[in-house]
């Protein structure tokens, strides 16, 4: 059984229970179950950030199961692929569906301080030579949305004279020379043959040296699991021929994913047909996320 199957199963449980209890008509007994089911079925933003639990996300038991008995993928050979991602910042509209999808897909902690991917908003006001930058984690955006789990930018510039504005999606760059792998004292985080940098959460000691070493701020620390966290390009999906969740949900095609070994893959075409850049090239990490339309202000 794959992680997805397990998740689907977990989703189904409260729904079927609702029907069952509804039939029985035991109002008092089913109240809790209905609340749970409604939570699962309603908008994702209704999740409770405080508990870090969400009906779509893995619970601790499912997580333990997935870690201790990872799904086997017999037909996948990591020597055959070289995954890469492209981000076209000129297409991004800052809808943050990628953030939401990522949090759901990967059971990322729901608060604003733990993200595997996020989107930055850059705004040049008229006459200014520098950009104002914020992300969804900005307290003003959260206050405006009313919750950390409603992924929205506020409308703070509606009365300002904006000269130029754009969004830049960020995620782990799955670097060729990853600083995080270099500093990991146990080897719990490692570079896979097909590109993504992965974490063995059963071996990580939680020293957070990798969190310090990442130049892109892509790593965070999961306090409840006591281990490091980061984007792995939805490794469980890409090894089955699917796109990462953020790519899948992007409504504008701002995110492009594929295999560089395949010259006709979306990412190979993206790199070939555009002048691409990477973030912080001076760090020497050689990122594998390629950007189009970066600006001097992008951090």
């Amino acid at each position: 059984m794959t992680i997805q199957d397990k998740k689907l199963e977990a989703q189904e449980v409260p729904l079927s229970r609702r029907r069952f209890l509804g039939l029985l008509g035991k109002g008092a007994a089913c109240a809790g179950a209905i609340v749970g089911a409604v939570g699962a079925g309603s908008a994702l933003g209704a999740a409770e950030a405080g508990s870090g639990k969400h009906a779509y996300q893995q619970n601790d038991k499912q997580y333990a199961e997935a870690v201790n008995d990872p799904p086997k993928i017999p037909e996948y050979n990591w020597n055959d692929h070289q995954w890469a991602m492209g981000v076209d910042t000129t297409r991004c509209i800052g809808c943050l569906r990628c953030m939401e999808a990522c949090k759901m897909e990967n059971s990322v902690q729901m608060d604003a301080n733990h993200n595997r991917t996020w989107v930055e908003r850059y705004v040049y006001l008229e006459g200014s030579n520098t950009a104002l930058i914020d992300s969804q984690a900005d307290p003003k955006n959260i206050a405006n949305a009313g919750s950390e789990t409603k992924f929205r930018f506020d409308n703070r510039y509606k009365d300002a004279k904006v000269e130029k504005a754009f969004f830049v999606a960020k995620l782990c760059n799955q670097c060729e020379h990853p600083s995080c792998v270099e500093v990991c004292p146990t080897g719990a985080t490692f570079k896979s043959k097909d590109g993504p940098v992965l974490i063995d959460t059963t071996y990580c000691i939680g020293c957070q040296y990798c969190v310090q070493a990442c130049p892109y701020g892509a790593r965070s620390f999961n306090e409840s699991r006591g281990t490091a966290e980061k984007c792995n390009w939805c490794y469980h999906r890409i090894t089955k021929g699917l796109n990462p969740a953020c790519v899948e949900v992007c409504p504008t095609g701002s995110r492009v994913f594929g295999d560089r070994n395949d010259p006709e893959s979306p990412v190979s075409l993206f790199i070939r047909n555009n002048h691409v850049q990477v973030l912080k090239p001076e760090m020497g990490n050689a990122p594998n996320v390629f950007y189009v339309g970066l600006d001097k202000e992008v951090v």
Binding site: N115, I133, S135, V183, Q212, P215, G217, R219, V299
Partner: protein
């Protein structure tokens, strides 16, 4: 809504969203502080053991025990900090050698073994003497501690002395290595502008010696007051020389590092300036204020050729100032480095927790432990070279043979 404001680290400008969760807290501040005290105390003990500078003889064994007791507790802040402390030995069993941190277990383990061995050789004669004069369970304990080696002939004592000296000689580069290595853990990170400096290992090492000497001075004065024994002037003068040298060099190097950073003025230097004027200004004032105080005091003590009680008072104060100043320096480095965002366009302001696993309370407990351990160890192994006099009988260790 309150949730985010509860545990998010407040910031100005733009910081990466994940940065608002502070990775290394106050526990990582006291870890280099404690190892620094070890290195400094060890240097003092070796001045007599290796270089035979007799003015340090009265405190060399005490300094050695101080180094041992602090070394025992050096890894504890790390254990409290780890997300998975039970897996701590993964780094030792399967070290990932490209990591600066992977060698920690080996470096610390080697140094601890070295200290234990040196203590045993330095105290063997006393242990044997006490196993002969003490009765009851303590007599047995000393018997075990002597490991059955109860030969106190001149030849055997000479061998003890020689071995202790060799161990001490190995200990000097090891102490420098241990602490320079801690500096390397920070200095080698290219990500953080505030840490990424080639001078970092040197700064850590020199400030370690400064704070360690400060610790030995403070402890020596306090212990002598409690024991009602005279404070030897020559020893205090010796400590003064080391203190002055340490404080002068470390201030120059620290100054150079900041000067270099501002002179290079790489991207984001305005944010560095704001960091110093903003989140860590108190720490910077304490660090530099205490250092200047220690430098001026020790200079005056040297110039005016002060001896006796005034020397004790002022050297005690400058030792204390150095300990506080170096603690502030550790804070400024470890916390300051993280308060400066990786975006170089934002600053965070860290507020430590008072209670909890990673809190000031934990820091307090861990900081007290080495002193308690030292008190117990000096009960077990009196380092002051006094005659061992149980039940009215007097034994001179060196006449037992």
């Amino acid at each position: 809504m309150e949730h985010v404001f509860e545990h998010v680290t407040p910031f100005v400008g733009y910081v990466y969203p994940n940065e608002t969760d502070f990775p290394w807290s106050q526990l990582i501040v006291i870890y280099p502080y404690i190892t620094g005290l070890v290195a400094g105390a060890f240097v003092i003990s070796s001045l007599d053991h290796v270089f035979n500078i007799k003015s340090f003889a009265p405190i060399s064994r005490f300094a050695l025990l101080t180094a041992l007791c602090f070394m025992i507790f050096a890894p504890t802040p790390l254990l409290f900090h780890l997300g998975q402390p039970t897996r701590a030995f993964n780094a030792v069993i399967t070290p990932h050698w490209t990591s600066a941190m992977a060698a920690f277990g080996y470096v610390a383990g080697f140094y601890l073994c070295l200290l234990v061995l040196e203590v045993w050789f330095a105290f063997r004669a006393d242990i044997v003497a006490m196993s002969k004069v003490r009765t009851g369970i303590m007599g047995k304990v000393y018997g075990w501690l002597s490991l059955g080696s109860d030969d106190l002939s001149e030849h055997a004592l000479a061998i003890d002395h020689k071995v202790a000296r060799i161990l001490s000689m190995i200990g000097i580069p090891a102490a420098c290595g241990l602490h320079g290595y801690v500096g390397f853990v920070f200095g080698s990170l290219k990500t953080r502008e505030w840490w990424s400096s080639d001078l970092m290992p040197v700064i850590f090492l020199l400030s370690a010696v400064g704070s360690g000497v400060g610790l030995v001075i403070v402890l020596y004065v306090i212990v002598s007051k409690f024991r009602k024994t005279p404070i030897i002037d020559e020893t205090m003068r010796g400590l003064l020389y080391v203190m002055f040298t340490g404080v002068a060099i470390v201030m120059v190097i620290e100054g150079l590092e900041i000067l270099e950073m501002f002179y290079k003025a790489r991207e984001g230097i305005e944010t560095v300036r704001e960091l110093i004027a903003g989140p860590i200004w108190v720490g910077m004032y304490i660090q530099w204020g205490m250092s200047v105080f220690a430098l001026l005091t020790t200079s005056a003590l040297l110039v005016l050729n002060v001896h006796g009680k005034r020397l004790v008072t002022w050297l005690f104060l400058s030792g204390l100032a150095m300990m506080i100043g170096v603690l502030a320096m550790r804070w400024n480095v470890v916390i300051g480095g993280q308060e400066l965002s990786k975006t170089m366009k934002g600053l965070l302001t860290f507020t430590p927790e008072l209670f909890g696993r990673e809190s000031l309370f934990t820091v307090l407990i861990i900081s007290i432990c080495p002193y308690v351990a030292l008190w117990l160890v000096t009960k077990l192994l009196p380092p002051w070279g006094e005659k061992i006099e149980p039940e009215g009988r007097a034994f001179d260790v060196h006449k037992l043979a």
